[in-house]
């Protein structure tokens, strides 16, 4: 109990409650919009969103986890960069480049046999890392803000991938990339039958592995400590002998590798995901931003917030039964982002209230002791 109280008074409690507050505001606004558009169906629709995958039993749950798999990785990508004080808005581009390389290997390198999917996934990771290397170098050498260069890299990646798909792996009938070979599909490991025929596969386990690895890098290694120190104060960490520039580049590269892995896991899942040749950025990459914010950039927090986002996304899909448009989920998520941007302010307010309460308590304690100072 005492430990719990200590935790309540700590800053992580106020951050978590800020996240939860943002989620509540987002959900509430969603409910209000539902009520305005169709009062009679609003509540059943809203409960469908909340129950998400559970609407469809164990299969729905499996699909939530399947849908969350790339989201966990993009969340990790954005969160990892956040920890180092970088804003990786380029996860979308890194992801599509990674996905393209995975598909390219998956289609063209069948001779690799049963290890094909591993090679394809590694290719995706490398491609994503390479794509993020450029903003990283730009930041370190030219002091170009990574947000701007990443936005440019997003569009360059999208157009480049579209161009290369048409050139090398084009399914011209459906205007999309070709289907990868059987051996490029990640093994299911019985996860699909376990969840009653959902699309869940070993990609989810790989995502968990990535969560653990990033957690260890950030919290248990000197390198991770240096990265976080750079995030807090670059000048101070330079003074302490940390190679700040090198760390900025490395942090971007790792973030890009994670986003590239997201692309690999998404397109090697073997459930019909393909890159469409359209001039639209992948929304999964941008989803990483709310996920990292809600998860407070902590890998474990990110894991759960990705599943939460996947959960309400699937809920939004089922909500269509009630004749509502699923885009309401994106509205809710954007409201959540907006209010998590206030997190600093909210944290401040909660911290202030807690301090005030503490002071009050101490005062009353003192009065009880007859004004004697302990």
């Amino acid at each position: 109990m005492k430990k719990f109280k200590e935790w309540v008074a700590s800053s992580s409690f106020s951050s978590v409650s800020a996240s939860i507050g943002a989620i509540l505001v987002g959900l509430l606004l969603g409910l209000i919009i539902l009520i305005i558009t169709n009062p009679s169906q609003a509540f059943p629709a809203f409960f469908t969103i909340l129950s998400g995958g559970f609407t469809n039993g164990i299969k729905g749950l499996g699909n939530v986890l399947y849908y969350s798999t790339p989201l966990i990785l993009t969340g990790l990508s954005v969160g990892f960069a956040f920890k180092t004080g970088l804003f990786n808005i380029g996860a979308s581009g890194q992801m599509v480049v990674g996905g393209f390389v995975a598909i390219l290997i998956g289609v063209r390198c069948e001779f690799l046999g049963s290890s094909l999917w591993i090679v394809a996934l590694l290719g995706a990771i490398l491609a994503g890392a390479l794509w993020a290397l450029i903003p990283g170098i730009f930041k370190a050498l030219f002091n170009v803000h990574e947000v701007i260069s990443s936005i440019m890299m997003n569009y360059i990646g999208m157009y480049l991938v579209n161009m290369l798909i048409v050139k090398y792996i084009f399914d011209s009938i459906r205007n999309q990339s070709m289907i990868v070979a059987e051996s490029a599909v990640m093994p299911k490991l019985g996860l699909d039958t376990l969840t009653n025929g959902s699309s869940l596969n070993s990609g989810f386990l790989i995502a968990i592995l990535f969560v653990i690895v990033t957690y260890i890098i950030l919290n248990k290694t000197v390198f991770g400590y240096e990265l976080i120190a750079c995030g807090f104060n670059q000048e101070a960490s330079k003074y302490a002998g940390i190679k700040a520039k090198r760390n900025v580049v490395l942090a971007m590269v790792i973030a890009g590798a994670l986003a590239g892995a997201a692309g690999g896991l998404m397109y090697l899942a073997g459930s019909g995901q393909r890159i469409m040749v359209v001039d639209i950025l992948l929304s999964e990459g941008f989803m990483g931003i709310p996920i990292a914010l809600l998860g407070l950039s902590n890998p474990i927090g990110i894991f759960f917030s990705a599943i939460f986002i996947g959960h309400i996304k699937v809920g939004g899909f089922y909500m269509q039964l009630y004749d509502f448009v699923p885009d309401i989920i994106d509205i809710m998520i954007s409201v959540i982002i907006y209010f998590s941007a206030f997190a600093l302010m909210v944290k401040g307010v909660i911290g202030f209230l807690l301090k005030k309460q503490k002071r009050k308590k101490e005062k009353s304690q003192r009065q009880k002791n007859g004004g004697k100072v302990e």
Binding site: F87, F142, H145, M152, M163, F342, M345
Partner: protein
Amino acid sequence: MNILYFLVQQTMFFSIPLLVVALGGMFSERSGVVNIALEGIMIIGAFTSVMTIRLLQDTMQGQGLLLIALAVASLSGMIYSLLHAYASINMKSDQVISGTALNMFAPAFAIFVARIYQGTKDIQFTNTFRIKSVPLLGEIPIVGQLLFQNAYITTYIGIAILIISSIVLYKTKFGLRLRACGENPQAADSVGVNVYGMRYSGVLISGALAGLGGLIFVVPTSSGFGATVSGYGFLALAVMIFGQWKPNRILFAAFFFGFMKTVSAAYSGIPFLRDLDISGGVYKMMPYIITLVVLALSSKKSQSPRAAGTPYDVGKR
């Protein structure tokens, strides 16, 4: 010659929205607030104004309707940008996060409302706004054909906005104060400039111009709006940087990027470019690659407003 006319006219259609939106972004950043929400604001502006056109098109047509729609677009953009202003100025939140939220909200909102209103996300409208030939000016040989035929009133509004922006930024007290708030808000505050007020004006101007730009983008190139402006808001951001936050250079950048867009859309119809056998994707990528190169080269003497992106803290010295 016909190809030349076509290219110039098309370039206008692509460049003018870029110009207007980039000028908007310039006002916001010059006041010290980074505004990556331009894309979202464009969508909101285009959405509300296309809706207006659709609702009113049975009772009125032509330039009058377009002017009303333009007013709606800029007003709605302005109101929407208030959200960004409030988050980044009063709440001192991360401006990139708030901008991302606005970017995500806008298309979802537009699709949601459109589908509730009419079942599909694409809003169709009848385009009655093309000016076949501007009276008198359209009859000038060559120049008339280039600039005053098959034109839209939005082109001339865009040019007017450029001239006004340039004057406001450099020749008025307001412009000086705005720029001061983007460079050194503490110093501006010390001589009595209302930093919050200036930053609000900067963001609101950017909202109005981005909203306007949304409609200017939609009208000449299509007769429907599908809740997207195809990344023009982000491209405008690139135009602004390429233009180094200066109106005249932004004009140049906008035309350059607009020309690239035109070439990528129409290169297969131009014999000279078709023979080069370069994929359309290359032309599409070009503006972004060039922006990156410019960013790298100009980093040492970048003209970016020094205080852009940092919330104003009265106590900081």
